[in-house]
């Protein structure tokens, strides 16, 4: 390159460690616009101490997706050390130093794959150079293995630690000159590594947000209105204050923004969380609940039907001439689908520890998006990020819930009201269930036209969803105009109608796709049967021909690669022996495919129905997330978890019902999660394409739901068009 705009040498900074050894900071830009950090922010930090201990800083939040293990694996492999030499430190939140620190969207693997390896390779190159200088040989003659340097000709070798201090004085290499390993040279990547925190988890060490304890700390609860957007009128402060253990009762008028600010509420602060929670019962709060009047599941259902009756909605996408082709179709198929609001219900209820002293906040927060929490605190309380020290803790699950940070604002507000006293705010399970940012419900009116030759020629969807007070689609409630089969059918129309909601909505694992895949792949199963084929047959016919990349219509996200889609579909048909039908009565296989978060997944479910009971016997998964599975042990766990999570959404009766804005569900008896007894066998096949690796927290989930409902149809003739699954025959 003749005209480099950045000096690639300045992307690396070496320094001497206190106590001897070598630290390397890599400031390599991440290759994704959405996560673009200002130049000079740290992508990786690795140090090698004199005793050979390699320390890698993990800057992303850990929610169980395994990132605290898998990103350091990338660095350590190129550094060519032993995994047992590696220690990992969780970084605090520091936007100036690290740029955005987020766990969401299955983005960490694709964005970090190259820069993490470059950082490791740069550190290795400097150790090689230092050893070459010490031995007075050419760097080309120095090799490495398992954390040692070798000069084969003279039979000399050294551990990394012995030249680490000398390496610190060298000029870092140009990252453009670094030779990265080829996949067959990997010694850590692609091999199963136990999660870095696992030994501390099985022995009960304090590592989660809820485990934070500080000297003199008090425990807090925050009572909010039962309905969304409720305002505080009055409370019996004295009665609660007299309860055992209670130190403070603090009525708080929020900033009127229950979504992205502080909701009105009453904080009860006590010596013990249970005592604080007991004292809530004495509060007798009076609320103004008028804002949520009429926001009921039943009313939403009626409005959706009215929207269907009123027309086809605002046009979001039109390809070709759907109206004419629908009118001329040899056969038409019509069906309406719907799904409910659902909650995230991570196992660790929302919590946050905070102390406010001399105008500064120090916080310990289990959050997937700490930057968002800092913004909310600034807006609601006027405390800027420069006056906040924020420590990231491990999280007891996220699933998207912890992308929203209302609990951080509440903890900060309570701490600010009691300067000098550390407080830990903890929600009860009931709080967590009733104050979620729910996966929004939605309704779809589909129609498809099949041409005389049996091909799907036209496809339309009228989607009814929710809008916020700004008139735009509510968070995580919009239709992706790239929803399959868009791009694969010549004539297509996607329309949208919206009704207002005051209910807080937000992304749930595989947002959008977790619902859109169910409705579209179930309806396409109906279309395939009407066209005389089956769903994999229909999908393969639409994907046939030369491999092509279909760019997203809205310009967001990666293109859809028809070849990768075809490969995973063909793979799962083979592993599941798709054409061999189960012999038992009321037992059958169902199929579905989806593409989201850059991952391609085709899945087959074998299920049976006996006396109204649905049993899932086996699930086959074929997935393409690129050329390399970074940590096979972690990757398989993500897929298995996603499959069982999706099955539970369909089969455990999961739904959030609203009456005048009040959530009717409260705990795990009326919002059920998957339990061990229904666990099916799950067979996973990786299809390794020539593309860089991408993330796995989300894309395996969506197809399993329609694969299940299509299996139920094949087994019983009962077409499931609404979630959660309810059998007509039951």
């Amino acid at each position: 390159m003749l005209h480099e705009t950045i000096d690639r040498r300045t992307l690396l900074k070496a320094s001497l460690l206190a106590g001897g050894g070598f630290a390397l900071e890599a400031l390599i830009p991440l290759p994704v616009r959405a996560l673009a950090a200002p130049p000079g922010t740290l992508t990786a930090f690795v140090s090698i101490a004199r005793d050979g201990i390699v320390t890698i800083v993990s800057k992303n939040p850990e929610i169980g997706q395994g990132i605290k293990t898998s990103l350091p694996m990338m660095i350590a492999d190129e550094l060519d050390c032993e995994w047992s030499q590696v220690r990992i430190d969780q970084a605090d939140v520091d936007a100036k130093r690290y740029g955005p620190q987020v766990a969401g969207g299955s983005t960490a693997t694709p964005t970090n794959w190259l820069p993490m390896r470059q950082a490791g390779a740069a550190a290795r190159a400097m150790l090689v150079q230092a050893a070459a200088a010490q031995w007075n040989v050419s760097a080309d003659e120095v090799t490495t293995s398992k954390g040692r340097l070798y000069h084969t000709a003279s039979g000399r070798s050294l551990p990394y630690g012995e030249v680490a201090s000398a390496a610190a004085a060298l000029t870092p290499p140009d990252i453009g000159t670094l030779r990265l390993k080829s996949p067959e040279q990997f010694t850590i990547i692609g091999r199963s590594q136990v999660g870095i925190d696992s030994p501390r988890i099985v022995t009960g060490k304090p590592i989660f947000g809820i485990d934070t304890r500080l000297p003199g700390m008090l425990c807090a609860v925050y009572e909010v209105a039962p309905a969304q957007g409720g305002r505080l009128i009055s409370a019996d402060i004295e009665a609660a204050r007299k309860a055992p253990g209670v130190k403070y009762v603090l009525p708080m008028f929020g900033n009127g923004d229950a979504d992205q600010g502080q909701a009105d509420g009453v904080a009860v602060v006590a010596t013990n969380w249970w005592l604080a929670n007991q004292a809530r019962k004495q509060l007798a709060v009076k609320w103004d609940l008028s804002a949520a009047q009429g926001h009921s599941s039943q009313a939403y259902q009626e409005k959706a039907q009215a929207a269907f009756a009123a027309g086809n909605g605002e046009e979001l996408r039109r390809d070709g001439d759907p109206a004419t082709h629908m009118a001329n179709a040899a056969r038409r198929v019509k069906a309406r689908y719907q799904y409910p609001f659902i909650a995230h219900a991570p196992m660790e209820p929302q919590n946050c520890t905070a102390v406010f002293k001399d105008g500064k906040l120090e916080m310990w927060a289990p959050t997937q998006a700490p930057g968002g929490g800092l913004n909310m605190i600034q807006k609601a309380l006027g405390i800027g990020p420069d006056n906040i020290t924020l420590h990231l803790t491990r999280m007891g699950g996220g699933f998207g819930r912890r992308l929203m940070n209302d609990f951080m604002v509440q903890a900060a507000a309570i701490a600010k009201a009691i300067p000098g006293t550390p407080i830990k705010l903890l929600w009860s399970r009931e709080d967590d269930m009733r104050r979620d940012y729910y996966r929004p419900g939605g309704w779809h009116d589909f129609e498809a036209g099949i041409a005389a030759d049996g091909t799907l020629s036209v496809f339309t969807d009228h989607f009814v969803t929710f809008k916020g007070s700004d008139g735009k689609a509510a968070r995580a409630a919009d239709l992706s105009v790239s929803m399959i089969p868009a791009g694969l059918v010549e004539h297509l129309r996607y329309g949208r109608s919206m009704m207002p909601t005051v209910v807080r909505t937000g992304p749930l694992r595989a947002p959008g796709s977790n619902a859109l895949c169910f409705v579209s792949q179930s309806f396409l199963d109906e279309v395939a049967i009407a066209a005389g084929t089956d769903l994999p047959g229909l999908m393969l016919s639409m994907l046939a021909g030369e491999r092509r990349e279909i760019p997203p219509r809205d310009g967001r996200g990666p293109p859809f690669d028809t070849g990768r889609a075809r490969d995973v579909i063909e793979k799962v048909l083979q592993t599941s022996a798709w054409t061999q039908k189960p012999r038992q009565p009321a037992r059958a296989k169902g199929f579905a495919f989806y593409f989201c978060h850059q991952g391609y997944f085709a899945e087959v479910v074998e299920a049976s129905v006996t006396d109204g009971n649905i049993a899932v016997h086996q699930v086959w998964v074929a997935g393409d997330v690129g050329s390399q599975i970074v940590n096979p042990m972690g990757a398989e766990n993500q897929v298995r978890g996603a499959i069982i999570d999706g099955l539970a959404q369909a089969l455990s009766g999961q739904q959030i019902e609203l009456v005048d804005g009040v959530v009717q569900q409260s705990n795990l008896h009326d919002f059920q999660l998957a339990r061990i007894s229904g666990t099916p066998a799950i067979a996973i096949a990786w299809v390794k394409s020539d593309k860089p690796p991408t993330g796995l927290g989300e894309p395996a989930l969506p197809p399993v739901i329609p694969a299940l409902t299509n299996a139920i149809f094949a087994a019983t003739g009962d077409r499931i068009r609404s979630l959660p699954v309810r059998l007509k025959t039951a």
């Binding site: 022995t203 304090p206 809820i210 196992m347 007891g396 298995r640 978890g641 666990t679």
Partner: protein, 159 residues
């Protein structure tokens, strides 16, 4: 009210109302936070401890009722043969994703293996039915228990 508790081989004296659940005595009075809070209603099993070797939901166990019991928590379960084998198996198959429920899972599994050293898969599912894993690491929980019980071939592909 003062309570004398026998926890993990040590005697602790705590001042608390007798109806306070053992969970909150452990977490907030004694600082033993390995035992987790999940639902507060005996529905998820995250708070499982042993009372005289039997699995109990500490969120549903008033402290006033356990004065004479031998209480064991995740912090000390590794001192038992069964507990140590389970912890080893848990790491071998790396059961967990987020890990939050795993203390409760291991405590329930330890109670199972103490009474049923070679459980069938049905016995495992039955004993573990009260423990929710939101990340759904159930295949591996089954495998790890079988491995600790010596009824799982180590050469078998890890679930």
């Amino acid at each position: 009210m003062k309570h004398k508790l026998h926890i993990n081989g040590q005697v602790h004296e705590v001042e608390a109302p007798p109806e306070m659940p053992l969970l909150w005595v452990l977490r907030d009075e004694l600082g033993m936070v390995g035992t987790k809070f999940g639902c507060g209603a005996g529905l998820c099993g995250a708070c499982t401890v042993h009372l005289n070797g039997a699995a109990r939901r500490s969120c549903q166990t008033p402290v006033g009722s356990v004065q004479n019991a031998r209480i064991t928590t995740i912090e000390n379960i590794g001192e038992t043969v069964v507990g140590a084998r389970l912890q080893e198996a848990w790491l071998k198959v790396d059961v967990m994703q987020c890990g939050y429920c795993q203390a409760g899972q291991i405590m329930s599994a330890a109670a199972l293996l103490t009474h049923t050293p070679k459980p069938s898969i049905e016995q495992i599912n039955s004993a573990m039915a009260g423990n929710v894993c939101r990340c759904a690491c159930y295949n591996r929980i089954q495998t790890a228990i079988q491995m600790a019980a010596g009824v799982h071939e180590e050469s078998t592909h890890v679930a």
